[in-house]
Symmetry: C2
Subunit: 410 residues, 2 copies
Amino acid sequence: MAVNLRVPAPADLHPVAGVELGTARAHIRKPGRRDLLVVRLAAGAASAGVFTRNRFCAAPVQVCREHLAGDGGSRVRALVVNTGCANAGTGQGGLADARATCASLAALMDCQPAQVLPFSTGVILEPLPMDRLTAGLPQALADCRPAGWAEAAEAIMTTDTLPKVVSRRVVIAGASVTVNGIAKGAGMIRPNMATMLGFVATDAAVAPALLARWVREAADASFNRITVDGDTSTNDSLILTASGAGALRIAADSDAGAAELKELITGVARELAQAIIRDGEGATKFITVQVQAARDEAEAGAVAYAIAHSPLVKTAFFASDPNLGRILCAIGYAGIDDLDVNGVDLFLDDVHVATAGGRHPDYREEQGQRVMKQAEITVRVCLNRGQAQTTVWTCDLSHDYVSINADYRS
Amino acid sequence: MAVNLRVPAPADLHPVAGVELGTARAHIRKPGRRDLLVVRLAAGAASAGVFTRNRFCAAPVQVCREHLAGDGGSRVRALVVNTGCANAGTGQGGLADARATCASLAALMDCQPAQVLPFSTGVILEPLPMDRLTAGLPQALADCRPAGWAEAAEAIMTTDTLPKVVSRRVVIAGASVTVNGIAKGAGMIRPNMATMLGFVATDAAVAPALLARWVREAADASFNRITVDGDTSTNDSLILTASGAGALRIAADSDAGAAELKELITGVARELAQAIIRDGEGATKFITVQVQAARDEAEAGAVAYAIAHSPLVKTAFFASDPNLGRILCAIGYAGIDDLDVNGVDLFLDDVHVATAGGRHPDYREEQGQRVMKQAEITVRVCLNRGQAQTTVWTCDLSHDYVSINADYRS
């Protein structure tokens, strides 16, 4: 059961001029489900991406990096995504499969293989079923249409219980601008660039160099701030496309509307990232961890992730049990060697839980109990030793997480 | 259900001359169970300890460090341990409680408070029930006897399902030597010095400076090599006592029998550490993770702990599902930036699973399935880039881990 995750009605999903999406049921792993997606981009679209830092990165991630190198991002004409198989841990054969996927789609679209970006998600260490994937491509391509966003979000799901799709249309600098995004992911989530797959597109024109910087900064403010289980996937990818089919044209940060468009894009990325947590494997709670007054952002992040990764903290949230000493324990082992624990304040929503190295004198169990029963909870840690802060979003650890991951392949 | 954890029969537990143990039912948290332990040491015993690096370390850990400072270890006459309350995250009040515990026992024993080492384990952020603890001390002291090891191991349990106690008696350098140890712990286990509580005692005499070094080295080869959930506790403590009541006397590493005694002590510590994993919260599998041919021990450890902490790897073991790509994924995000994944070999017991960045050509699912069904499994990773190696022991992640930690306080 996802936590307060809203799936927009199809009528609320605006098309993005210059972007068409089509899906197919290719039986990559399971029969009958949409599992193949093609995104067709108009000529003139610019794309940029960020990818996992996992050294066992998937074959499609390696091919994406090659195809985006230099000014490759300005020539991309299509994205192709399969679910059911990650094409990771597949060696040279996997690389050949990812390249063959691009070549097959390029032949159908009459473009170059290097103008196609491939993505895969699913089980690691197993080869792609290339015959079935290739057979599905014409159908997905034929299905391409501007209104394909809802089916696209569905086609990339793995253990997701709900599709993640966000659509925003506003007026910026006098021009109507649309930003849409889809994402998938529920487990193996501790993105370290972004998560597989986030795809955000706008109809504005954005200069390629700017786009490349914006996608990194948007990832840092969204997908790089979430964790379900601390496992950085082999396939994390976030792609940002500016089709240029709309009226707004941005060449530099100082252009009219640049700041607004960047914030709009970042907001869509953040909502998608939070959607992944709301639908985290087995999630019953959506937890925001804020660490404030840290000496630098690195130590704020270390404390936030120590809390967000602790199985003991996460099971306490699952149980709605204010066993909050576990949070102090996680702060204590976060690796800040000179931390003065007497300076640490811990809050649960509006409740002041701990101060001066121990329980706050006014804290009462009932207060903690009240907050722990909520579906959305903010843990706020004030280190009182500097000006830096960070925020991380996570979920609880439930029986269903174990069930889902014990049964994933079966 | 602990994994192949053997509890010795009382007849197999040798006494350690100079060491007496007594317990009481003090109703620290739950009525009717042994929850208070006093260990009385003969005059002349030397003790040394290693403690958690968690910054929110418990009040008793702070007091132990004070009492062992300088040559304090040569004057220790008693250890006092309570379960049910960790006395951690308890600020100045908790420190006063730990000191008062030492003072109360010292008054009963006619020694100084600084000659008592206090230990606590249980719930964090709650105050010690000092009245009940103090009331139990005379009973535990009166119960002290050389044959008290089994009850002592029982009295320090929290979520442990079985007591952990090891006893060895051998002849070294012509003298009979006994080394016994007890430990507790099942969750919040990723010791970063040692785990609460390990207590190892020998009747040999060991020079205090040597003892202090041996306890660190024994911890590094045992308690610092295990993880259940990656949570470094606030209360981890390992104490090594040499009573000197026996015939063997060791003043330096070069003395006859020194190497044998040190290995005996380390072996007892290792067996206790492994016992904690065998009885890890919800454990159904005992997993040995060996990382070999690493450039240095730090990177070997990083890879071993990435595997041993991955919830996805641990749930796959629970399910006996050879979803072994998850192990490659963990190796990939372990933080070795220049790792060539094509050089990595992965073995599951005798099965060669992965090589050259992908699945080994001879690997068959049935082979992985066969090993995954065992209760004891060795994961061996060969990085093929150096001479360093390390071994870490861990367990799987099961439904019972979630149940135990969702219900711990209730």
